[in-house]
Amino acid sequence: MSEAFLSVSNINKSFSNVKAVVDLSFEVHPGTIYALLGPNGAGKTTAVRMLLDIIRPDSGVIAYNKSSDGRSNPAKMGYLPEERGMYPDKSPLDSLVYLGMLRGMKKNDAKQEASKWLKRFDLADRENDKLQTLSKGNQQKVQLISSILHRPDFAILDEPFSGFDPVNQEKLIEIIHELSADGMTIVLSAHQMDLVERLADEILLLSRGTAVLQGKLKDVLNDASSAMKLSIDVAAINQQTLAGLSDICNYEIDDLAVDGNMRINFFLHDENNVGQLLKACTETMSIHNINTETIGLHRIYLDAVKKHKELVDA
């Protein structure tokens, strides 16, 4: 594998008594899409701010390996912050040219690129209108353009799909793929797991500032794809049966109750004996419904965060 574009080694960051990021390490390789995931307050924004050198880690090292001094070069970086903000009294074109020039573009180049991108996002006829007259979705497009206008080597897109309708979400997926194919390294943070699954090469899942799951997406999914969730809705749970089944597979009693039933989720792998499990359940419990589900990133995310929470709380 090629040398990492970005190497993060054991970074920590605390604010007063709150540990925002704890001993975090990862590498992002050139041209890949790296998804930074986690629930609200997991430490993603703090991590991103450290990657951008907006704040410094208390300890640990962040190194951009293509940079001579190892530090980020703003002219070669793009950033779409989670906290969106532009100048509402200015036009999209003026705002984009300004932000492009701050990233080192010449005025004419910035103007040309901005017009091109605005056209691609169907905003060519609005390029001189005030931003405040644009819809939230259109403002979001302008904001997104500002992060890639200067064709950076590395872009951090925090919640890029927020505010987009499904049509524009698809367009954005297409663009992100295109930029990645052109060699742009992208760190992506999003809550739409189905979209992340379609984009990411690697993922890092944070919970309470700690990495709880990381690796290549296909490996993470492969590990989980051999698993299946079997949900059984029963009128009443027979604890003795469940105790007997604990040797066969993992299970959880779901809080979700439908029509007064209880739901038991069994997490099965290829080696598990499904027949034995079903036999034991049908003999001792009145089953109202059976459902199976392949485990995707969404489920993996929830399980990993839940496990970590239980571990920390314990």
Partner: protein, 397 residues
């Protein structure tokens, strides 16, 4: 590659520079300054120059002045003619009917209130003076003697300070007013610029592209240039307004006798520029701390520079006072006070240079701590930094 500093400065400048607004403001200043200095003359110029006839019904037998000695022509009349006179008043053929009861009481009937009625008072005093002197048994000669002021000739010691002229005083007032304008403009530009960017969450976008120091420097440069532009255009337009209106209305030349050297103008300009930069650094830091401009307790601090410049107005009456001398060296007040001393008092050049250097050092120091506060405060959402924290940042900067 464009300089990020100049890009920010240009952006900040043109965020507030609007041609239509500029032209409207300049016209307004031109008219206002003209009216302030030549308004009275202008009104009288356009007032009717036709003599105003006053019909006098008088029981004392005062001697009426001859026509042409004032703007009034006096005609003697009597009560029997009052109805005719009233009709003439209604026809606007007569200015007024003046009834003199005795040497201390009179009444005038007019069709409407007009500016000439104020002038009538002095003419009336003159008209009745003889009768009043007569009743007080004072001769005209004694009266004029008593009214002569005791002559007091002020002789200045050859090494002493020559008194300031009215034109110097006017010049200093204009300079201070322009400085106040600059501080006010800076206050509004900086407050809107910084707090709105913080509220609009533009901060992260910009700060990921350029360093906070470049951002704050660009802001200071652009917004100070905008304030200076306001000062310069206002000064030129106001002076132009005064001169043009003075010409039009034959008003006195208010600047006659004022002698200012290029060095004086240059030094005053330097104090204005350095002072603005000093206070702008301060205001950027305060504005960055403000989370919500409507509720923040830090907002009133933004008016501190206005107070500091206003102090200089008190220096006008006694520019060589010891307190004024001290204030002229303090960077928080020297912007306004030292120019007052330079024009109206006596001050050695070394004092001016030292004061200016102190102000420049203060600018450098304020810029340093302001950028530290700015960098940390601009990313602080939802709360404002405590003064304890701010003090810690200042010590660290």
């Amino acid at each position: 590659m464009p300089s990020p500093l100049l890009t920010v400065a240009r952006w900040e400048f043109f965020r507030y520079f609007k041609w239509k607004g500029e032209i409207f403001t300049l016209i307004l200043i031109l008219v206002l300054s003209g009216l302030s200095f030549g308004g009275k003359e202008l009104i009288s110029k356009f007032s009717s120059s036709k003599p105003i006839e006053i019909a006098v019904i008088d029981d004392l037998g005062v001697t009426l002045p001859e026509a042409g000695t004032s703007r009034f022509t006096w005609t003697r009349s009597n009560e029997a003619d009052r109805a005719t006179l009233m009709q003439r008043l209604a026809d606007k053929d007569l200015g007024g009917i003046l009834s003199i009861k005795d040497s201390t009481k009179s009444a005038i009937t007019v069709f409407e209130k007009a500016s000439w009625q104020d002038e009538l008072q002095s003419s009336l005093n003159q008209l009745l003076l003889d009768k009043r002197l007569e009743s007080a048994e004072i001769s005209s000669a004694d009266y004029y003697l008593l009214n002569q002021p005791v002559a007091l000739e002020i002789q200045i010691h050859e090494q002493g300070n020559l008194p300031s002229s009215e034109s110097e005083k006017l010049f200093v007032i204009i300079v201070l007013a322009l400085m106040l304008l600059g501080v006010f403009m800076s206050f509004s530009y900086i407050f809107i610029s910084v707090t709105s960017e913080k509220q609009m969450r533009v901060t992260e976008q910009v700060i990921s592209a350029i360093s906070p120091q470049t951002w704050i420097d660009g802001k200071l440069l652009g917004l100070t240039a905008m304030s200076l532009k306001s000062i310069i255009t206002t000064a030129i337009t106001a002076v132009l307004g005064i001169i043009v209106f003075a010409k039009l209305t034959n008003s006195p030349n208010y600047f006659a006798g004022f002698e200012g050297s290029i060095i004086t103008f240059g030094l005053i300009g330097s104090f204005a520029l350095a002072g603005l930069l000093f206070w702008n650094c301060f205001m950027v830091a305060i504005a960055a701390m403000v989370e919500d401009p409507n509720t923040s307790t830090k907002t009133p601090l933004m008016l501190l520079p206005v107070l500091a410049v206003s102090v200089a107005f008190f220096a006008i009456s006694e520019p060589n006072n010891i307190v004024v001398q001290i204030l002229s060296f303090l960077p928080i007040t020297s912007m306004g006070v030292m120019p007052v001393r330079m024009v109206m008092g006596t001050v050695d050049m070394w004092q001016v240079i030292v004061s200016l250097l102190l102000l420049i050092v203060a600018v450098a120091w304020t810029r340093k701590f302001a950028s530290k506060i700015f960098r940390l405060s601009m990313l602080m959402y939802g709360k404002e930094p405590q003064w304890r924290e701010v003090w810690k940042w200042i010590r660290q900067s």
